[in-house]
Subunit: 144 residues, 2 copies
DNA sequence: ATAATCTAGAGTTAGTTTATCAACAATAGT
DNA sequence: ACTATTGTTGATAAACTAACTCTAGATTAT
């Protein structure tokens, strides 16, 4: 049940961008320094977030990164799904990336116990992360 | 945020043992067949669970495994912690295996945003798994 | 004895994580 | 146009982990 460094770094990077959003942009070096992230690894992460439509970038002197949306329009759940994949502990209970479990002895039967519990776990995790925006994150608490 | 096969198999194995607890014991082959688990891998898992004091075993002809405690005295949280380690997404919010995050720019400061959110996620996960016993698991729903 | 079974740990294979590097492309200021 | 600065991209790789697999040995019932 672990969060990868990739996602953690991604969240920290977006946090910095959220803090300066509307005022200025940040270069990868700025972000890396402020959050103690290896620059080259951060690059990859920012690129992934760019392809996913969360940040924009400008090259050259005075270039840098910026959020595309408002901080309250991006949830932590979205970010982690982009960087780490589905929130669900097992794919047969994922709502965004469902996959049938093939070897499970309960396939096609009404109720698999593992599926039941893990469904609840998934909901619990998503209940936190999908209701926590970058704005909440920067403020240090949800909804406000 | 993934559950390992090890933990999943462990849960499935304990489920089978819970179902027959008090009536009979099961051999690794029985469990492996019923739950489609590679028998050698299952062996390791059962051994770990034995060392952790959850199951007992008897060797030789007519040997097998049995739960030591009652199914309602074992929670899924315990099992997963034994097989996969702490439930917390990052170790600085674990209650059973806390470790200070060393590279975090917020160390020793009052509030790290990542820590705040992940603490809530940890509580959400533990809230499900630590209140779900093997008996609930076998019944297909909690507190039953 | 012997056959079934558990015990223990080393070895294997494949994939993931966490980077690092180098070459390239775009931009701003001169 | 030139040059320094910055982002873009893909290749590579060390370290680690997951998920088995194998081998050899110890224990027990019959």
């Amino acid at each position: 049940m672990k969060l990868s460094k990739k996602s953690e770094y991604g969240l920290r990077a977006l946090l910095e961008l959220a803090l300066v959003h509307g005022k200025t942009t940040l270069q990868r070096r700025d972000i890396a320094d402020r959050q103690h992230i290896p620059v080259e690894f951060l690059e990859q992460i920012l690129l992934t977030l760019k392809r996913a439509g969360l940040v924009s970038s400008r090259r050259g002197v005075n270039g840098g990164y910026d959020l595309i949306k408002q901080p309250n329009e991006i949830t932590l759940g979205q970010v982690i799904r982009i960087l780490d994949g589905p929130l669900a502990p097992i794919s047969c209970v994922s709502k965004t990336a469902y996959q049938k479990c093939n070897d499970c002895p309960y396939t096609n039967k009404p109720r698999c116990p593992v599926q039941q519990v893990m469904g609840k776990v998934r909901d619990a995790i998503a209940g936190v992360l999908d209701h926590y925006s970058l704005a909440d994150f920067a403020a240090g608490h949800p909804k406000g």
